[in-house]
């Protein structure tokens, strides 16, 4: 076997694979696009700097005019203006839609149930690597807790835990989705299956950085209490 592997680098059919001329040209085209974009970005920066300078010069002028106007307006008028501002601010707030709970649950399942060889996780070598990937879908706290609960490290390798298994909410059954705030929703469902028995699952979703993530998962097994 060792002899065959010693010749592997010379005789393997992997050597038939080449970086094609087409790919090479595509790289150069993309590089040219990057350079073009940078040139425009340079122009953009100059324009932006000029605009910023003009705005900076306008600020003292605005305050002078504003203070002059305040001196001439009545307290009732000022109150009405403040109300108008509050309404405008409220209207301009970003209102995210409801979280895509089923899609998030599917991604959660895919992440916490990775490919394994025996108990050994195939595509990850450490909890840190797992946590790094988990945070695409869940909060840092939940990512760390999930990695600690369901995985263990030994001798530089990563294994799934024999004792604890994650439980999920059933996308096929009904669930309650409650709005805690514009950026936070909570899902509640009672699930019953042969594997885990009957349990109540509560999942909190948080909207931040323009996407929804799973903030917290709580599972209660009433029968075992």
């Amino acid at each position: 076997m060792k002899d065959r592997l010693n010749d592997f680098s010379k005789k393997s059919t992997l050597n038939d694979i080449q970086f094609s001329e087409k790919s090479r040209q595509q790289v150069m085209q993309r590089i040219s696009a990057i350079n073009k974009k940078r040139r425009y970005a340079g122009w953009g920066k100059t324009t932006l700097s000029a605009a910023a300078l003009i705005i900076l010069l306008m600020i003292p002028g605005y305050f002078v005019i504003d203070s002059l106007q305040n001196q001439t307006s009545t307290p009732e008028e000022n109150l009405a203006v403040e109300k108008d501002q509050a309404v405008t601010e409220e209207a301009s707030e970003i209102t995210p839609e409801t979280p895509p709970v089923e899609e998030l649950e599917k991604r959660y399942r895919d992440l916490v149930d990775p490919e394994i060889d025996g108990l050994e996780v195939v595509n990850y070598n450490s909890k840190d690597e797992l946590i790094n990937t988990f945070t695409e879908v869940m909060s840092q706290n939940l990512a760390e807790q999930t990695a600690d609960d369901f995985f263990r490290e030994a001798d530089g390798d990563l294994y799934v835990s024999e004792s604890d298994k994650p439980v999920y909410f059933s996308t096929e059954n009904d669930y309650d989705l409650t709005k805690n705030s514009d950026t936070q929703f909570e899902l509640a469902q009672t699930v019953e299956n042969q594997l885990s028995g009957r349990y109540r699952i509560n999942i909190t979703y948080q909207y931040q950085d323009d996407h929804w993530t799973i903030r917290e998962r709580k599972v209660n097994f009433p029968e075992s209490q």
Partner: protein
């Protein structure tokens, strides 16, 4: 290659010239390494393109005395692992294929068949190994890296590299000799 990077630092050659040379020197190697992870020529070439784009963007971060080959290999391995981790990459590939089909520029089934590679027995078995043993075997026996270089590239300890190589070889032996029985 390191002299060429030095010439770039001293403004003797420009970035475009350096990336052209990197593609000539390492293009095939990067594509083969990517293929050993993704097992698809087209995806491997796409990853190789991404690798050279990243090299181009990050060239100024290349520190003095950094081994260029190790740097490129490290970008390649990370890109391959990203490919498996991010769902959006899969969607991107699907979308790209779908758009090709819509535009009628997709390769015909005959062309697709001719693009498939018929591998020799040993390569077939190496590619069929579980991920972590495969990457160790490919790096050591195909890319001819040292155990220390593999340890640095894959960010695992030297004894772990050795044990993965040992286990990988054992699995290959069992599979190849098992087939003959």
């Amino acid at each position: 290659m390191e002299e060429l990077v030095e010439q770039y630092r001293n403004n003797q050659i420009d970035k475009d010239q350096l990336i052209q040379t990197l593609m000539t020197q390492y293009g095939a190697q990067v594509t083969r390494l990517a293929y050993s992870y993704v097992k698809d020529v087209q995806i491997a070439e796409n990853i190789a393109q991404e690798v050279f784009i990243k090299c181009y963007k990050k060239m100024h971060h290349l520190k003095k005395n950094t081994a260029v080959k190790a740097w490129i290999n490290s970008i390649t391995v990370n890109k391959c692992k990203d490919h498996f981790r991010s769902g959006w990459v899969k969607n991107l590939n699907l979308n790209a294929k779908f758009m090709h089909r819509l535009r009628g520029t997709a390769p015909s089934p005959e062309t697709e068949l001719s693009q498939r590679i018929q591998h020799d027995e040993l390569t077939e078995e190496v590619l069929a190994l579980p991920f972590k043993y495969r990457e160790a075997i490919i790096c050591y026996h195909f890319q001819e890296m040292s155990i220390n270089e593999i340890s640095a590239l894959l960010k695992i300890k030297v004894p772990t590299v050795s044990s993965r190589l040992r286990r990988g070889r054992q699995m290959l032996k069992e599979r190849l000799e098992g087939d003959r029985k």
